[in-house]
Amino acid sequence: MFLLRDLVSPRTWLAMTQHLVGLVLGFAAIFIVTFGLGFGFGGLFFALAGLPLLGVTLWLADWFARAERARFAFFTGVRIPAWPAPGAPGRAGFRWGIIPRWRTWTEPATWSEIGYALLRLPVSAVAAGISILAWSVGLIMLLLPTYAWALPQGGPTFGDTTLHGRPVLATSAVLGALLLLAAPQLTRGLATADTALARQLLGPRSDLAARVSELEISRERVVGAAETERRRIERDLHDGAQQRLVALAMELGRAKAKFADDVDAAKELVDQAHAQAKEALTELRNLVRGVHPPVLTERGLDAALSGLAALCPIPVDVHVDVPVRPKSSVEAVAYFMVAEALTNVAKHSRASHAKVVVEGHGYPGTLTVMVSDDGIGGADITSPGLSGLADRVSGVDGRLSVESPSGGPTIIAAVLPCG
């Protein structure tokens, strides 16, 4: 059924339009670039008179590339990252606004754009040709039985032979139907290939482009994670220490009022205030440790993680083997990963034992961090805590994996590049 649906689906006809529009644009592009370069280079022999023409041609090729990126974004939704424009930072440009600099000619971007302008016509011609042929031949063969009688020889002729009879007509109709069904796939497949070619020629090298979009995504995630973290700190300060200090001030105020007539009650209030103050200190201390433990900066992961392990209500084995200290951003991510994992262990896992293993490999190399427990499993990477952790890990180009079948055990591991 989906094959039939494809016959009328907008995607198919968008792809066909893409080929046809490409054909028209290709004519213009190949005309301008061939003449521009031809006369431009030819003109060089007449006192360099061709130079401005070459400049205009390069400018037009770049303009065409820009227009084409927009066209692909419109027709296919594929966003091709752009080269910098000539003269923009990262790319050589023109002297006096119009004469191409020498370096302009040695840049891959220049030749990619020219190459693209020259290839547009042949590529679109082939794609449009094949697509149109598939549709029309399919249609002709499918409908053959309905008009065969009207042909001069009573059937289609190939040279001296004329095809007659029902079996021939039936075979033709079946083949025609098959071809028609295949036509949408063919049209779309060619459009995909066309897009890939454009991407290759119009975008920066593809791995670089992939890296850029990856970085864009991870930057977004890191910004989001930082925002969440700030909110958490604000909430913790507001709900915790601040409330305690308010209560403390209140109790001291009451004690002050009571001192004149009821010293014993006042003493009791002072006792309560004293306890409140100590609680506030503990809360602040834990909060600070959660923001960034000073010992991490000063003594590294081993020292910081043993502090974390001690805070965990169940026994935690800590094994740290990091010969060379990684940069502080990586250390911080490793620390928070262990902190988050141990918090989860304490809250949800019902484990009796947990293990933390941190190992450095090579220089600058990678840091692997693993936290495992013998609990009930069922940890979910889409939960707020773990997905925030994944965001932080992606911020240093690391990978996080969570393995937690229900029934356990849970293993949370990350590989963090240190370079």
Partner: protein
């Protein structure tokens, strides 16, 4: 007792000075940075010093390094290190060279005045005072298995590691002195340590065992 204080926060410096004076101790000098602190120690040779870990100019561990210096150069001076947070690693550094006459406490403990003064006296006396949080970290990080100890024995071990005397342990667990003595003997047998005769020596053995053994 003569005390030199190194603490960069004026508020806390004043508070500590007042607290110690009210308890009848003499504050010989106060300093706001490590350099001034070392000069003051050289000048006054106090019985005990109270040092904050974080001090200018880098606000990392200057105070701790100054404390280690005092510990090595003036073995008779007790060194009590105060910190906003405690780390097992700092404690190990502090007790590994000379595990007596040193202390390492959370700043919060100052709020319990009598306990704080008690710890300060112990340190000045050549004993030790470790924050319960540090001890918990040491126990969690112990290089030796402590699984053979009963929960009660672990409690006694923790209190011992904090530097408390037998009678203080007995008070805090609300048991008799004899019971504590028995627990301690069991702990030493189970951990394979030679029984020490005095409080200090036993604490020392425990700290060595937990921190560096």
């Amino acid at each position: 007792m003569r005390v030199v204080i190194a603490e960069d926060s004026v508020l806390l410096r004043e508070g500590l000075t007042r607290l110690l004076s009210e308890a009848g101790h003499e504050v010989a000098a106060v300093a706001g940075d490590a350099e001034g602190f070392l000069r003051a120690v050289a000048e006054h040779t106090p019985d005990v010093v109270v040092v904050d870990v974080r001090m200018p100019p880098t606000f990392t561990d200057e105070g701790l390094r100054a404390a280690l210096l005092v510990r090595d150069r003036w073995p008779k001076i007790g060194v009590l290190v105060l910190s906003q947070w405690v780390e097992e690693r700092y404690a190990t550094e502090l007790i590994s060279g000379r595990p007596h006459g040193v202390g390492y406490l959370l700043k919060d403990r100052v709020a319990d005045v009598s306990e704080f003064l008690d710890a300060l006296m112990r340190v000045a006396d050549g004993g030790s005072a470790l924050d319960p949080e540090v001890v918990a970290q040491l126990l969690a990080r112990s290089r030796h298995p402590l699984g053979e100890l009963t929960p009660r024995e672990r409690e006694v071990l923790a209190l011992m590691a904090e530097g408390r005397s037998n009678s203080a342990i007995a008070d805090s667990l609300v048991v008799g002195g004899g019971a504590v003595e028995k627990h301690i003997n069991n702990i030493f047998t189970k951990l394979g340590l030679a029984p020490g005769d005095r409080d200090h020596r036993r604490v020392l053995a425990v700290l060595r065992y937990l921190g560096t053994g």
